[in-house]
Amino acid sequence: MIWLVASALLFSIGAYGALTRRTAILVFLSIELMLNAAALSLISFSKLTGSLDAQVVVLFIIAIAAAEVAVGLGLIVAIFRRRETTSVDELRQLRG
């Protein structure tokens, strides 16, 4: 149960960070926190029910997160090279 609380805290911290930070790297980092909070909650559910299925899912999440980080960091580096900034408030060309 304590792990679930920890997971909720982690998620809230991640959400707060994603909303308040302006640098793309830090926003990205906060999102990673939220993702891992979700993984943590899965593990704790796994402990509660005694089934290993959720742990398998977490292994998948870790693998996918690694790939996602590679792509995300690559994008941020590419944007920085072009714009010389990573502030998400300045990158708002995708207006409707």
């Binding site: 959400a15 994603a18 909303l19 926003v27 998400v88 408030d89 990158l91 708002r92 060309q93 995708l94 207006r95 409707g96």
Partner: protein, 610 residues
């Protein structure tokens, strides 16, 4: 009767010409395109003649439509029609080589001409009614294309549309007749229908109704009252078109259709009476209108109406072979009349008003002779072709009822008058125009020479029995149509009828010859203003049908506009909503994220509280 693949080949030859000239016409050019088209029609003619001499032919493709074979039948009736269509058609093709010389659409013209011949042959040779209908529509299409051949001028295109639309009414009748016959007998093959109608066991009223619908089809195609208004306007096409389609062949298709279905008509007093009435009305209406026209082609067009009325009367009184006989003689003298008119138009550089003609006998000696023969044959002078066929119609009319004979005699007096009026206005008096007339080239003279011989002599295949006890055409056709056993009139009566009709024709021709050279009296000019406008039939139809339809169309257009405005409003409303939603797309990443999180909280909250 033999099964032979040569039969569809008759149709395939002109069809091939249509395809070749349609695809490569520009490269073939004149005069090769014209000669190619003519030779293909001649090929059809020779092939048809060969098969007729062998006693006819059949050919069928049984798996065509479920229950309906693609079948062709060349018997004596379709054989004679084929001779007329391909034979006279060939002469008109050759003549058109000269007439269409230098026209920018030269090969297009011959491609359409071959299409017409192919469609007409399908109509004639078809044994099952849907096949006939394909030909029926095909000739309508070719007629439409050729009337509007010079489509750059609006009036020509309008005439073409008028012809097509009026013909649709008749086509609807044909379709309804097919539907009725199918529901009654389960077959649409004419040769099978003959047996089934004779076998009996059906409602006679329904058969009358089917015959009535067929009659509507025939009325439309043969331009009878009340669907006659398209034929005079069809003269907007080139003159060879008028000669081939609107005089010699297509307009007789209605008569041919009725003769083909003689087995349905001959016992039916109502239908026969109706056909007689329509034919009589058309014969007199056409003749009166012709007397008032100034356009040379419209004069001849109305004479065609009148002669078609004669054919209908022949069908109505049950003289089916006479109707076909008149088609044959009419094809010769009316094609000749049109082509003579065409030669005059050609000589005067496109002038069509007879008031700017006159005196042509001095300038165009050969064409003058052709015109003389055409006028005499059409007016019924003994012993030219028109006399014998018209006399046969009169004799059968007498048998039907002496009153009909009197009326028909009146119609033939008018026929003599309009023929001689045409001849006098064009060839006698002094030349009233300005162009310098020149005689036509040999390629236009020779077809007219041959047609003149036909107009002089073709009547001898159908002499009355008092002169030639068994003439050629009557027993020949009875093999195909069936023998409906007419009593022969007594010898004396027959002779009296012949002499009266001959004397009346000569008197009318002579009187007309004198009358039309003078200045017209007051009553005639009065009559002429009425006749010139076809007794205001067009105006009547416009008031009764066309204008109400136009108003209805306007109302519907208004309704359409209303509906469309509604849809346009709906569209712009949706567009506005879309614009509102697009405002949410700010491009600010943290705004999106906040939205996602709020949605997450709401969804989870809803899930927990539920």
């Amino acid at each position: 009767m033999q099964e032979t693949i040569l039969l569809p080949l008759i149709i395939a030859l002109p069809l091939l010409g249509f395809v070749i000239l349609g695809l490569f016409g520009k490269r073939i050019g004149e005069p090769t395109a014209g000669w190619l088209a003519s030779l293909l029609v001649l090929g059809s003619f020779l092939l048809g003649l060969f098969l007729v001499l062998q006693g006819g032919a059949r050919w069928a493709l049984s798996e065509w439509l479920p229950g309906i074979p693609l079948s062709f039948n060349l018997d004596n009736l379709s054989g004679i029609m084929l001779m007329v269509v391909a034979g006279v058609g060939f002469l008109i093709h050759v003549w058109a080589i000269g007439y269409m010389h230098g026209d920018p659409g030269y090969s297009r013209f011959f491609s359409y001409f071959n299409l017409f011949i192919a469609a007409m042959l399908v109509l004639i040779l078809g044994d099952s009614l849907p096949v006939v209908f394909i030909g029926w529509e095909g000739v309508g299409l070719a007629s439409y294309l050729l009337i509007g051949f010079w489509y750059h001028e609006r009036v020509n295109a309008d005439s073409a549309r008028k012809a097509f639309i009026v013909n649709r009414i008749g086509d609807l009748g044909f379709l309804l007749a097919m539907g009725l016959l199918w529901s009654m007998f389960g077959t649409l093959s004419i040769s099978e229908l003959v047996g089934k109608v004779e076998a009996g066991g059906y409602s006679f009223t329904t058969l009358t109704l089917a015959g009535f619908f067929l009659l509507i089809g025939a009325i439309g195609k043969s331009a009878q009252v009340p669907l006659m208004v398209w034929l005079p306007d069809a003269m907007a096409g080139p003159t060879p078109v008028s000669a081939l389609i609107h005089a010699a062949t297509m307009v007789t298709a209605g008569v041919y259709l009725l003769v083909r279905h003689a087995f349905m008509l001959h016992d039916d007093a109502f239908l026969s009476g109706l056909i007689v009435a329509i034919g009589l009305l058309t014969a007199i209406y056409g003749a009166l209108c012709s007397l008032g026209q100034w356009d040379i082609k419209r004069i001849v067009a109305y004479t065609t109406l009148s002669q078609l009325g004669f054919m209908f009367v022949a069908v109505g009184v049950g003289a089916y072979w006479v109707a076909i006989f008149h088609i044959v003689t009419h094809a010769f003298f009316k094609a000749l009349m049109f082509m003579t008119s065409g030669s005059v138009i050609h000589a005067l550089g496109g002038e069509q008003d007879v008031r700017a003609m006159g005196g042509m006998r001095k300038y165009l000696p050969s064409t003058h002779l052709h015109g003389l023969v055409a006028a005499f044959a059409s007016g019924g002078l003994v012993p030219l072709a028109g006399f014998w066929s018209k006399d046969a119609i009169l004799a059968y009319s007498f048998e039907y009822g002496p009153w009909l004979w009197v009326l028909m005699l009146g119609a033939s007096v008018l026929a003599a008058l309009y023929s001689i009026r045409w001849y006098v206005l064009v060839f006698w008096g002094d030349y009233r125009g300005k162009e310098h007339p020149h005689e036509s080239p040999p390629v236009m003279l020779w077809p007219n020479h041959i047609l003149s011989v036909g107009a002089l002599g073709v009547g001898f295949i159908g002499l009355p029995y008092v002169i030639d006890y068994e003439n050629f055409i009557s027993p020949f056709l009875k093999k195909a149509i069936g023998d409906f056993g007419h009593e022969k009139l007594p010898v004396l009566t027959e002779w009296v009828l012949i002499i009266v009709s001959a004397a009346v024709a000569i008197t009318a021709l002579w009187w007309g010859f004198r009358f039309f050279q003078q200045k017209m009296p007051q009553w005639y000019t009065h009559f002429q203003t009425w006749a010139l406008n076809g007794f205001y039939a067009d105006t009547l139809y416009n008031t009764l049908f066309v204008n109400p339809m136009k108003s209805l169309a306007e109302v519907l257009l208004g309704g359409d506009r209303g509906i469309l405005t509604g849809f346009a409003g709906l569209g712009s409303l949706m567009g506005g909503l879309g614009n509102l939603l697009a405002k949410l797309e700010t491009g600010a990443l943290r705004f999106y994220l906040a939205g996602l999180l709020i949605a997450l909280v709401l969804l989870v909250g809803w899930g927990v509280l539920r």
